[in-house]
Symmetry: C2
């Protein structure tokens, strides 16, 4: 029987307790039905969720895109039966759908994903929810100027992840008093006690040292929870509520018992536990609706910005063109927001930062937070561009992988790619970034060679969906293309060649210029080669590659990247998929650990300079 | 003129100051000679280094492998001119070599690497030094039982990296009072002031909240530095020395000035600064030698352990075989040490942990620290095996990339790979791990399909150099191989096939079993296919692949991984490199975002199950 509970009742405490019992029961029911899942991790946080859902969250389940909705980010994703039980209590899903948990074809998955419209970000890789919440909270406070709050429910185990402390640090730096972290300290991790057990005072001390309010409570005491939420809502700082709880609370079988992580109760166990909890209930809660306020700051187009122009032959680093183009698109679209990890004078994101300081956010050297903030911002309809050295995006690879599962639209630019950076040495050289980003679901990977192509592709990135990566180059390179050239994503440019080509050299970025040099040198010996600028690495221009095989026979791919996963394998895979057999293939890539040196010395030592291309062409003929 | 300074002098303070001036001067000289580099980041920490080198560090530069040497980890790697100047002052390198900084062919690189024998780990990706030091300190305290200390010199900018706080947390958990972090708070990052500026009290509060001693000092006051080091050496906890310093200290041109990050002085600027610092000096310091104590705990072989045995047809998960084999090799070699990120009951590392608890270290959910600890341990001649879900190694990709530059020998096992994990959904499914690990310099990538091959390969991993990754599977799979089968790294197994094969199916792990099923089904239709177990993904058995192309024409690669960077591209690249043209190639891989479901449902939905292989064979003929 469905009972619609009044929002305010004479006995509010009783409602909260009834709802908490229902959330526990439904967490048990759906996991037992599934035969797997994490009921006990759900049960520990049920009281925290009950008070939040019934009395504090402001959310319109009919309009998940409502700009005034609070964010509810369930960082301890494995405990999602609780989240789904809350959706049921809010009337957003039916009991029938709840019971499809973990079944093939159901959106009620083992960890939350945005296939469910009220899930703003996928969780399940622990320690990521807070960094995303920081993005939402920055948006509310500094961009949209809206009063929504960001609630992040965390587990205690994930407090060992460094990304959590990047989130704490960034939240206090930006004084995000609209951000509330609820830490469910149920003491038990997957395989035993957590690092800090029930030492809530240590968690609280850490939060305070990171500039937050911290409130220690008994996470099963409804009144303490209510007071903590009220305090947090009126705080002038971000607030962490450190709630001591019992894993599996509410059932004698599981309460504070080891061996119950990630384990569903058997049907008879579930039946007993449900009885112990007072029996099945179907309270329906009217969740508070958000206010109806417009986004501040002005969305949409803000001017008639023009992309930067460069003269053919002029030397400009693609990283500089990235910054110039960012500024230009910032003038076209007020939703463009730029983040950088304390290297904006190297990535040239500072060009945007100086033009639009109110839309530029310094993330300091915290690449995981850099990506997390972007995921939060894009959920709020911004178009975030993030930059750091390409090598350091490796620091956030798990966040990037998860952003793809979150169906996030984020734009990342990695500068200083490859051995051509020179003297700084291998720690600063991205040599795996193309591989890393190609292997992200639904990603786009761009690697322009000159100013105009960079500017055009930055403009394209603005409205591309998914994870979009651009690789930029430290060194200045000559402008190859005129102002009217188009650079469709998925395209390529044939920059040298004719009917007599004896081989095709495929490069991108710095190596394209080496290929052009090689072509010029070979032309002096009356040897004509085709040179392809593979600026779009994913998607890739298979048709042009096929034509090159058919017309020139020999393919030579040259890249400033390890042999694995970059241009070479992208070309081979595209041709194999299209059924084109490659009669002759030469792969010039980095195969030994590079050192310090001048860019040209290092390109040569790696075997990817013009002279090596010339030799490869001659050997291939 | 070279003056050998006495180790103890009547005026110790004067020596420290002279040495500090020399370290600053040499940092200026070598960067000016190079025309690039980070002199000012070196100058801020020169007093800290001077007192450390002259009076506290115990290190035998003639024996960098000496087990009693202190560790000196220079986490703020960009400031390495200071480290190199210290090497010169210690007599380890000449002034001439110092001046080869950043030149091609010199080991005195832009960031430190172990091409220099006294550099234990490459740095330059910030925030990693402390986690490595934790590994050394764990080794000293719990394994080798040696009194050496671990000194980690950090910059203030890198305190924003979450990995730092994983290190702080782990160090206090293991109460590493032999670990001393020296934080050079020079206030200025690359592009302006850091997040916390000179608020040393905030850094100190954070360190204390994470269970450390913290000492705030003036980092240019020699006496304060000396007292802090003495206190730290006698501490019962890990100690953080938070030193307020000036970037570029000692020269009016640069002291506490913006715009001087990563910038060498011009020759005339350098000349003036050197004069201001008292002029060039060539003090030679006798660094204190370490004690001569044997490693405790017993190194080398400890027994006549036997690898686990399984019956053909028996079902065992390769993750279980990983744990069984770890225990076995733990009985063969006392240097095997095992680390896990709080999932040892899933990765089965707990089998080792129960057998050898003194060599098992729980890293909790902190994957960056997991890898950092391993890098420190292997420097101390241990053979560290790390495990977590394969998906979560993405969290430590930057650490893994850097470990390759550190020339580290570490063994990583990622479990729960691919869609075949089932109900937990995509956040827990590694679908990019093979790509990620193939793109690491000098890596080995193994992906066994059954118990015996897993056990044999775990045994091989123990003594393999470099970054070695094994992918294991959640589901139980039937044993395919007998007890005497050999699995050389770089090999493969042809598990089905004969003279009439119409196609070759290449799989590994879970998909090999699908290929075997497909073969059995096709055999019923009198269609014979070859099935190759590509258990060694890198290095790869090119010869067997070439033979397959030549003898069967059609290649079908089937993998539980995204299309990019995995088995398919590895096969294509190997064949292309060997000059073998592939006439017909079919790639069955994961192309859509998976969901929850049963393993078989998900394998089928992804198009990588036996029925899809059967269809691909029929289509290819």
């Amino acid at each position: 029987m469905v009972t619609e509970a009044p929002q305010k009742t004479e006995n509010q405490t009783e409602l909260w307790q009834q709802l908490a019992a229902q959330l526990r029961i439904d967490s048990i029911r759906c996991t037992t039905a599934a035969g797997s899942g994490h009921p006990t991790s759900a049960m520990s946080a049920a009281d925290l969720m009950s008070v939040l859902l019934a009395s504090h969250l402001k959310y319109d389940f009919d309009q998940p895109e409502h700009p005034n909705n609070d964010s509810l980010i369930f960082s301890k994703g494995h405990a999602c039966p609780l989240l789904y039980a809350a959706y049921k209590a809010a009337g957003a899903i039916t009991d029938e759908e709840l019971l499809t948990l973990r079944q093939f074809g159901s959106r009620i998955e083992g960890h939350p994903t945005p296939d469910i419209p009220w899930v703003e970000a996928a969780t399940g890789s622990l320690g990521q929810g807070l960094s995303i919440g920081v993005g939402d909270a920055i948006c509310a406070k500094y961009l949209d100027k809206l009063p929504y709050r960001v609630w992040v429910i965390l587990g205690d185990s994930e407090m060992a992840e460094g990304s959590i402390w990047e989130g704490f640090n960034t939240a206090s730096h930006y004084n995000l008093n609209n951000l509330i972290a609820i830490v469910d300290v149920n003491r038990l991790g997957q395989r035993g006690e957590t690092n800090l057990g029930w030492h809530t005072e240590i968690y609280a001390a850490r939060a305070r040292a990171f500039g937050w309010n911290a409130i220690e409570i008994d996470g099963h005491n409804i009144e303490e929870i209510e007071r903590a939420y009220q305090t947090a809502e009126n705080s002038d700082k971000p607030t962490a509520i450190i709630a001591r709880t019992e894993k599996g609370h509410g059932a004698a079988l599981t309460a504070n018992k080891e061996g119950w992580h990630g384990k569903a109760m058997k049907p008879e166990e579930a039946e007993a536990a449900i009885a112990e909890l007072g029996g099945r209930n179907d309270l329906l809660i009217k969740v508070n609706r958000p206010q109806d306020m417009q986004r501040g700051g002005g969305a949409g187009e803000v001017g008639d910005g023009k992309l930067p122009q460069y003269e053919i032959g002029e030397k400009v680093a693609t990283r500089q063109a990235y910054g110039d183009a960012l500024k230009a698109i910032g003038g076209m679209d007020a939703d463009v927001v730029v983040l950088d990890a304390e290297v904006s004078n190297s990535t040239f994101a500072e060009v945007f930062g100086k033009a639009y300081p109110e839309r530029f956010f310094e993330m300091y050297i915290a690449e995981q937070q850099l990506v997390g903030t972007a995921v939060g911002l894009q959920h709020r309809k911004k178009k975030p561009f993030c930059s750091t050295f390409a090598a350091f995006f490796a620091r956030a690879y798990d966040q990037i992988r998860m952003a793809a599962i979150s169906q996030a639209d984020i734009k990342l630019c990695g500068s200083h790619a490859g051995v051509s950076i020179g003297e700084d040495g291998p720690s600063q050289m991205a040599l795996e970034d193309l591989s890393m980003f190609r292997s992200v679901f639904g990603s786009t990977v761009l690697y322009p060679s000159d100013g105009p192509s960079t500017a055009a592709l930055v403009h394209a990135m603005k409205d591309l969906p998914g994870i979009v990566f651009m690789r930029s180059t430290r060194e200045k390179t000559p402008v190859l293309y005129g102002p009217d050239e188009q650079f469709p994503v998925g395209g390529s440019k044939t920059v040298r060649g004719g009917n007599e080509d004896v081989a095709t050299v495929i490069g991108a970025g710095i190596t394209l210029h080496e290929a052009v040099k090689a072509s010029d040198q070979l032309q002096g010996e009356n040897i004509s080669i085709r040179v392809i600028d593979l600026y779009s690495v994913k998607p890739i221009d298979t048709e042009t590659l096929q034509r090159a095989v058919n017309e020139t026979g020999h393919l030579i791919v040259v890249e400033d990247h390890w042999r694995q996963g970059g241009l070479g394998e992208a070309v081979l895979a595209a041709l194999a998929e299209s059924g084109t057999s490659v009669p002759s293939f030469t792969h010039l890539a980095v195969t030994e650990m590079p050192t310090s040196g001048k860019p040209n010395e290092l390109l040569d030592a790696a075997g990817i300079s013009a002279s090596h291309i010339v030799a490869a062409v001659k050997a291939a003929r």
